[in-house]
Every structure is written in structure tokens, then in C-alpha cells.
């Protein structure tokens, strides 16, 4: 069945996104405008934009899907996504803003002037992470399109890539900030509306005590994850958020370190409010959506309206969800495309505006191809793996780089390579293993609990072995990172 409303919602979201982007175009003129909106974005705008950018396919569709599949354990994912922001606030927000870097490779270079090697390795890791993160967005787009509209799935990734290319190429970061601030509130609304409709429809049923008592049984019937898995996921999400390239690029648009902290605190509130909705919808999905399996659990929110309502109302509510879902794919992908294009163009095109545009096309085209050639895992699980990877690579570089003056470039390189190799190989290996729950398979499937400490230990030990390599300007850089700005009273 082709749902006309859903197609309309999709077109509307894409058009609005592009219109706001073109409005931003008039404001951006210099390279600095393109990259970081000239650092003049207010905390509320910036917080909405961060929320808009961060809430990806995994949050919008994946959280409810995971709650349907793994019950109570699925609730740890949104907690981790939010608590990760607290970690970012504690360790990274203000110093990173003061570092005056555009991208993570820039930070590596500011901290270790002499090491071209470190900068290159960081760039390649950022590129890998961005691509790994975009692919699930494309899978989400394909799933949404095929389930909600009946059109062939491959059109979804193409639409997302085209709109993202146009928005990013035309306006750069300035327009991306506007687009994403808008998209946070749009995504929130797109979940609030169906949640309220469904709740008002079904709540009267539970005035019957027997019906109400049955809920607990249904919720508890789903098997939950083991303690090791839970802890590993918590660690991956907490430390992985620190290293997400598209999230970090947002901090450069705050005027001061103090403003960066205010922004992050607002983000914590926005995320907490948002995640109540996919959680509620996940619970409703367990109770009402029939025939969900591992292959279509991510579509829970898309299928829920039709399980509760009939006819036009169900079509309309589905259309609202489709609009929100596409807003999620578009915002996250454009954020990733900006930081990916920033890294690529600085590395290969000397950071010109033209290079930035070429890089944007490269940044979105390659994940589309990968997404069309591979099949979708559980969205939130796939994103969880990316978090584990960033937690084992970029996160130790940032944490030790910001807080430990004895870190050396050699140590940073060794630690990141150790983390990347161990985490990457474990994830690859687990995808080839039979899907049983023996402890060793779990260790490979959720590597963060051991690969993150490993990366930190290697980084510290190798740095200790090369004390003469501590940069001579380390005191100046540390002062730059931590001393509050003059303008701040």
C-alpha cells in the first residue's frame, strides 16, 4: 500500500530543510562561516541544534525497537546516550571550545604541533567513524521508506544523500545550525503527537484491573541482557559520546568555554525530555504491535499507529512519524557530512570552500553505496558499535590530551591504534561468529569494557616511555585549554 500522506510528509520535510538552508546561505560568506558559523550561535540555538544533530535513526526508531527486542535492557541505550553528554560536559565541552580547533584532527595538531603522523591517523579515524555512523542512517531511511510508503527501499538513502549534499554545499555550518535547531523541535513533535493519540486511545482499557495486571507479565516476558553486556554498553555509550566528530564540531560554534557548558547543560534537558517518548512508544509497541521480529523491530514506531487506529487517522499519524524519522536521518547525516567534509578537505584540499564542497559529495556518496550493498542490523545496536569504536580511539586522545600534560604524540598514536585494532577486530570477528551467548562471544560482541581501558593503558605506558617527546609548548597549550576567557566575568 502506498501511503500518500507519508510521501507528502517526506517531501515536506526535505523541502523545508532545503529552504532553511538557502535562507542561511545569504549569511555565510567566508571559509570560517562555512565551518563553524563564525562562532556566534547562542546557547539555546546551539543546544537545539546539538539535540537535532545527535538524535539519529538510532534514537528515533532504534530505541523503541530495542525495547521491543530486549525489554528492560533496551532502556540502557537512551540512558547511555544522555549520560554520554554529561561526560562530554565534564571533560571536554569548555576546554575543546577554548582550543580554537575546527575538527578533532585540528585539536591533535594544536596539542602536538610537530606530529603530522598523529594528525593523519586522527583524520583517518574520524573519516571511518563518520562513515560507520552514516551507514545506519541510510539503512533507517531504506527501512522507513519501504515500510511506510511501499516504495522500493533504495530510494530512501538517495533522497537523504541528495538533500544533505544540497544543504551542506549551499550553506555550510551556518545553515546546518538553523536546520538542525529546527529539526530537534520537529522530531520532538513528531513523537509527541502519536504518543498522545495512542495513549488517549488505549488508557481507558486499563481501568479493568485484570487488563492492567497483565501488562507487567508482558513486559517481563522479554529476556534481558547479561550484566557484562549491560556494563560494556554503558561504558561504550558514556565514553563514545566524547569522541563523536559531528558532536564535537558543534562546540566550536559557542562563543566562549562558559557558553559551551551552558549549551551542554541545556542539551541534557532536551535529550532527557526526548527519550521519554521512544521509551513510552517502545512499551506501547510491546503491548500492541504484533508480529515484530529482529528484522523489523526498528519499524515499531512506524507500525504502531496502524495497530491501534484504522483508516485515515492511522495514515496521518504514520506520516507524522515518517516526517520525524526523515528529519532524524537528514540532521544526523548532514552533521556527519559537515565534519567528514571538514576533515577530508583540510587533509586533501587545503581547506578551501571548493574542496569542502567536493568532500561533501564524497562524504555522502560512499555511505549510500555501502548501505545499498549491506543489510541492516538493529539500528541502535549498530550505532552502539560505533560508540564502542570512538570510545576506544578518539576518546582517550581527547581525555588525556586535555587533562594530562605528559601525553606524547607517540603514546597517542600507539593508544589509538591499539584501541582501533582491538575494537575493530572484535566487532568484525563477532559478526562472523555463530550467534550464541557464551562469554567469549559476548566479549567480542561488546568489546568496550576491555578495549577502552586497553587504549588508555597503552597511551599512558607509551607516553611514559617517551618522556622527552612531551611538546615544549605544553604549558601554553594547557593554559589555552583551561584558562577562562577574558571577556567572561
Amino acid at each position: 500500500m502506498t501511503n500518500l500522506f507519508s510521501v507528502l510528509a517526506l517531501v515536506l520535510v526535505s523541502l523545508t530543510t532545503m529552504l532553511i538552508a538557502f535562507y542561511g546561505l545569504r549569511l555565510s560568506r567566508t571559509t570560517s562561516d562555512f565551518y563553524v558559523a563564525s562562532r556566534t550561535v547562542r546557547p539555546w540555538w546551539n543546544a537545539s541544534a546539538i539535540g537535532g544533530e545527535y538524535l539519529s535513526a538510532a534514537s528515533f526508531l532504534g530505541v523503541a525497537g530495542l525495547i521491543v527486542l530486549s525489554g528492560q535492557s533496551g532502556l540502557w541505550f537512551p540512558i547511555g546516550y544522555t549520560a554520554g553528554y554529561l561526560m562530554l560536559l565534564l571533560f571536554v565541552a569548555a576546554p575543546l571550545r577554548r582550543s580554537q580547533a575546527y575538527t578533532i584532527p585540528d585539536f591533535a595538531q594544536i596539542r602536538f604541533e610537530d606530529s603530522i603522523m598523529l594528525r593523519k591517523i586522527t583524520t583517518y579515524l574520524v573519516v571511518i567513524i563518520c562513515w560507520l555512523y552514516i551507514v545506519p542512517q541510510m539503512h533507517g531511511a531504506a527501512l522507513t521508506l519501504s515500510i511506510a510508503t511501499g516504495l522500493p527501499g533504495w530510494i530512501g538513502p538517495l533522497i537523504v544523500a541528495a538533500v544533505v549534499c544540497l544543504t551542506v554545499v549551499s550553506g555550510g555550518m551556518r545553515s546546518v545550525t538553523f536546520v538542525q535547531a529546527f529539526q530537534y523541535w520537529f522530531k520532538l513533535a513528531a513523537l509527541v503527537i502519536p504518543t498522545l493519540f495512542v495513549l488517549f486511545q488505549v488508557l481507558p482499557e486499563y481501568s479493568v484491573p485484570e487488563r492492567a495486571a497483565a501488562v507487567a507479565g508482558q513486559l517481563k516476558s522479554i529476556s534481558s541482557m547479561s550484566l557484562y553486556e549491560t556494563i560494556s554498553i554503558i561504558l561504550a555509550l558514556l565514553f563514545g559520546t566524547l569522541g563523536l566528530p559531528h558532536v564535537l564540531v558543534r562546540f566550536y560554534t559557542n562563543p566562549t568555554g562558559h557558553a559551551a557548558r551552558t549549551t551542554t547543560a541545556i542539551v541534557l534537558c532536551l535529550l532527557s525530555v526526548f527519550y521519554l517518548l521512544p521509551t513510552t512508544l517502545g512499551v506501547l509497541g510491546i503491548l500492541y504491535t504484533k508480529d515484530l521480529s529482529a528484522s523489523n523491530a526498528d519499524a515499531t514506531i512506524l507500525l504502531l499507529p496502524h495497530s491501534v487506529f484504522d483508516g485515515v487517522l492511522a495514515d496521518l499519524l504514520t506520516a507524522v512519524v515518517v516526517g520525524g524519522a526523515f528529519a532524524a536521518f537528514l540532521s544526523t547525516t548532514s552533521g556527519l557530512a559537515v565534519s567528514l567534509a571538514g576533515a577530508l578537505s583540510q587533509e586533501f584540499f587545503n581547506g578551501t570552500v571548493r574542496g569542502f564542497r567536493i568532500s561533501t559529495v564524497l562524504a555522502t556518496a560512499i555511505p549510500v553505496v555501502v548501505a545499498l550493498l549491506t543489510s541492516s542490523l538493529a539500528l541502535a545496536g549498530a550505532i552502539g558499535n560505533v560508540f564502542a569504536f570512538t570510545a576506544s580511539t578518539i576518546c582517550p586522545l581527547l581525555l588525556l590530551g586535555i587533562w594530562w600534560r605528559s601525553l606524547t604524540a607517540r603514546g597517542a598514536i600507539a593508544g589509538m591504534l591499539a584501541g582501533a585494532a582491538s575494537c575493530g577486530l572484535a566487532l568484525l570477528g563477532s559478526s562472523m561468529m555463530p550467534n550464541n551467548d557464551s562469554f567469549w562471544v559476548l566479549m567480542l560482541r561488546q568489546p568496550a569494557a576491555w578495549s577502552v581501558p586497553l587504549a588508555f593503558v597503552v597511551m599512558i605506558l607509551v607516553s611514559k616511555k617517551s618522556p622527552r617527546k612531551i611538546p615544549t609548548n605544553v604549558d601554553l597549550v594547557m593554559a589555552l585549554l583551561h584558562v577562562p576567557e577574558r571577556s567572561y566575568k
Binding site: 528492560q72 540512558i79 554529561l86 513486559l219 517481563k220 541534557l268 604549558d475
Partner: protein, 123 residues
């Protein structure tokens, strides 16, 4: 020359030979005294900010890991019902978020206080 013996021997400092550096590039530190005082204050600022951040992060980690352990080793909690939904669902789905926000706000206040203290003693 006789071997030094007795308890004074341990107290006598090691003999150090003083000589001019072998290469010509004598490394005289360029820092003026006020600069090294500044450095000292910056290091104090960094370590007080780090202590604060680690304390909050440790609290968060202990809370999250603690809750997940309690749910595994003490499943009785799941028998408690609130509006017909098991208590763990309320804790994980709703209860933790306000704690995260409060931790963030408290941290912001303390970090700003540290910076203000630094501003008042440096300069």
C-alpha cells in the same frame, strides 16, 4: 683517604661534580618569575577542575553500574509494581534522567566557581 663509616656516612650527601655544559647551547629558561607563578596557578586550576570532573563521573559510573548489578543480583525489585509497571522500568525509563541533569547543573556551578577563584588570584 679512609672509608667513611658510622651513622654520619648515611647522612652525608652524594658528591656531585659541577662542570660547564659540554655543548654551547646553554638552555637558560626564558620564563620570568611572574610567568612561572602564572603556570602554577594554571596547574592548580587544571587539577581542581579535573578532581571535580572525576568525582562527578565516578559518581555517575558507580550509580549506573550499581543499578545494573542490583537488577541482576536482586531481582525482587522487579516484583514491586507502580501503576502496574515493574519498578525497574520506572527507574531506567524515567528516574535516572533528572539525576543526570542535576549532576550537570551542579558541575557547571562548581566549575564556574573554580574559574572565578582562578581569576581572582591570577593577575
Amino acid at each position: 683517604m679512609s672509608e667513611p663509616l658510622g651513622r654520619f656516612a648515611q647522612q652525608r650527601p652524594q658528591r656531585v661534580r659541577v662542570q660547564a655544559p659540554q655543548d654551547a647551547s646553554l638552555d637558560i629558561p626564558a620564563t620570568r618569575p611572574e610567568q612561572s607563578a602564572e603556570n602554577f596557578y594554571v596547574r592548580q586550576l587544571i587539577s581542581s577542575q579535573l578532581r571535580l570532573a572525576v568525582a562527578v563521573a565516578a559518581g555517575l559510573l558507580i550509580m549506573l553500574v550499581g543499578i545494573s548489578a542490583i537488577l541482576v543480583f536482586w531481582p525482587v525489585v522487579s516484583q514491586i509494581m507502580l501503576f502496574n509497571i515493574p519498578l525497574p522500568w520506572w527507574i531506567l525509563g524515567v528516574g535516572i534522567y533528572p539525576l543526570i541533569i542535576i549532576a550537570g547543573l551542579l558541575y557547571n556551578r562548581a566549575a564556574t566557581r573554580n574559574e572565578r577563584r582562578y581569576r581572582s588570584i591570577s593577575r
